[in-house]
């Protein structure tokens, strides 16, 4: 009985404070600020201060909330909250090397596959319920892109699972995140495993795809569909969407770090946890620079069909190559 109680308390703590909840919100806003600042410096601008995302949130909280009278009000209000809560729960599942190995029983890679599309679902609900033609366009674009970027994600998850599961000689596959971390602590990061290199590349391309940056800024293209699903949102509800996107950024970066290079810098114990946490944030920053900031500074938007076929033609085969190799070398 007490075990169940402590387990559920631990889960609540994980979702509300660390590594989900407050921690992930703060980290997400920080990463967003770094992203905007570095992007500005890459374009030889001064750029906004690092805490600009926080200022934006404060500003949005002071604004009026307008709801179109043709919109479905319930769904319109539910959409941002749904996306944010979904992402906070997902953030609680994310292990941090040397600091946190995830709540046992909360979930593994399969659960992640179901949780990761929740923000996209929230955006689709938002676009659909807002009764705006641009919202509907954003809805269809978001859905198309989701089908496109889920494929390489599933394939690279499978590649990782088969690679890790094959190591113990039984030839099975492992979907548990702590086990994948343990494998990398013993055998070195998967990022430096030649078999997994294509899948790593696919995962790095998945991040801007799901965040909608650079080439894949298709669902919320502000000069084409006027920010699509977010068009009709104003004030606090828009702020919740911004929080959702910040948390989602952290979740996909942490996912990349956990699957590719979760190794801690020093042994756990004493001040080691803090050092490892900082080390983890550094890795997130590096991944952010590679797959979001530099990517969107260097590329422009594709058309929807081009974006879709990019994932089908180039990214999915990369992940499938890894999957095939991992399967053969089991």
């Amino acid at each position: 009985m007490t075990e169940i109680l402590t387990d559920s308390l631990q889960a609540v703590f994980a979702i509300l404070i660390f590594p989900g909840g407050l921690f992930v919100l703060a980290l997400g806003l920080f990463l967003k600020g770094v992203d905007r600042k570095v992007l500005a410096r890459l374009q030889r601008r001064v750029g906004p201060p690092l805490y600009q995302p926080v200022l934006d949130l404060i500003k949005l909280a002071t604004k009026e909330t307008l709801i179109p009278n043709t919109a479905n009000e319930g769904a319109f209000r539910l959409a941002p909250v749904l996306g944010l809560t979904g992402m906070l729960v997902t953030a609680a599942l994310m292990p941090i090397g040397g600091v946190w190995s995830g709540v046992s029983g909360l979930g593994d890679l399969l659960v992640l596959l179901y949780l990761l599309p929740i923000p996209a679902m929230g955006l689709m609900l938002a676009g659909g319920s807002s009764s705006s033609p641009y919202g509907a366009l954003g809805f269809s674009r978001e859905m198309c892109m989701m089908f496109a970027y889920e494929m390489p994600l599933i394939a690279s998850f499978l590649a990782v699972a088969v690679r890790v599961g094959g190591s113990d000689g039984t030839g099975g596959s492992l979907l548990s995140l702590p086990a994948i971390m343990d494998y990398q602590f013993q055998h070195g990061p998967l990022l430096f495993d030649p078999v997994m290199l294509p899948a790593a590349l696919a995962l790095i391309l998945f991040i801007p795809g799901t965040m909608g940056h650079g080439l894949f800024d298709i669902p919320e293209a502000e000069s084409e569909v006027l920010e699509g699903p977010l068009l009709e949102y104003s004030g606090p509800l828009l702020a919740v969407f911004h929080l959702m996107s910040a948390v989602k950024l952290v979740v996909v970066l942490e996912l990349g770090v956990a699957l590719l290079c979760p190794n801690p810098l020093v042994a756990t114990g004493g001040g080691g946890v803090l050092v490892n946490l900082l080390w983890h944030i550094c890795k997130c920053l590096v991944l952010l620079m590679v797959s979001v900031t530099c990517f969107r500074a260097a590329t422009g938007r594709l058309r929807l069909d081009q974006g879709f076929s990019f994932f089908v033609k180039y990214t999915s085969p990369l992940a499938l190559v890894s999957l095939g190799l991992a399967f053969l070398l089991r």
Partner: protein, 151 residues
């Protein structure tokens, strides 16, 4: 405390442009010189938004032609309070060189309250940016008013 919040909030003005029948001269100044990398308004926290619902500062250019008048008013009413309006160029205040044209009705300030006017045909980029800064001050006062009234 509330004043501090207003001060922080006013450092994130999001900009929305309305073209009310402009000849495109002011729009070129806004889009390609003043509000894009060279003069970098993002360092003031500004962001371009595609949707009027996200906007705080509205930039209006051009004389209000009869054909777009109702649409401009409709878009203006979509912008949530508190908001400020900046007229860019001489056209919004006087009609400029179009003032006697058969397509131009009354001046914009008969329909929309203008807070800051940036004259010029077209105005210099520096002038537009100064106009935005002045608009932000007006907006901050309005924010303090609305936040203090609510509480």
């Amino acid at each position: 405390m509330l004043q501090l919040l207003c001060k922080l909030a006013s450092r994130s003005p999001w900009i929305y442009r309305i073209n009310a029948g402009s000849c495109n001269g002011c729009d070129v100044e806004m889009a390609t010189t003043a509000l894009i990398p060279r003069y970098d308004v993002e360092r003031l926290g500004c962001k371009y938004c595609g949707s009027p619902r996200h906007a705080d500062v509205v930039l209006i250019s051009g004389p209000l032609t009869l054909r777009v008048r109702d649409k401009v008013l409709r878009v203006y009413n979509e912008i949530p309070h508190p908001k400020v309006t900046v007229a860019v160029g001489v056209c919004p205040v006087s009609g400029g060189c179009f003032r006697d044209g058969y397509t131009v009705g009354a001046d914009i300030d008969h329909y929309i309250p203008l807070d800051v006017i940036v004259p010029g045909c077209p105005p210099r980029p520096q002038a537009i940016m100064e106009g935005i800064l002045k608009a932000v001050e007006v907006w901050r006062a309005r924010l303090e008013e609305s936040v203090c009234c609510h509480s």
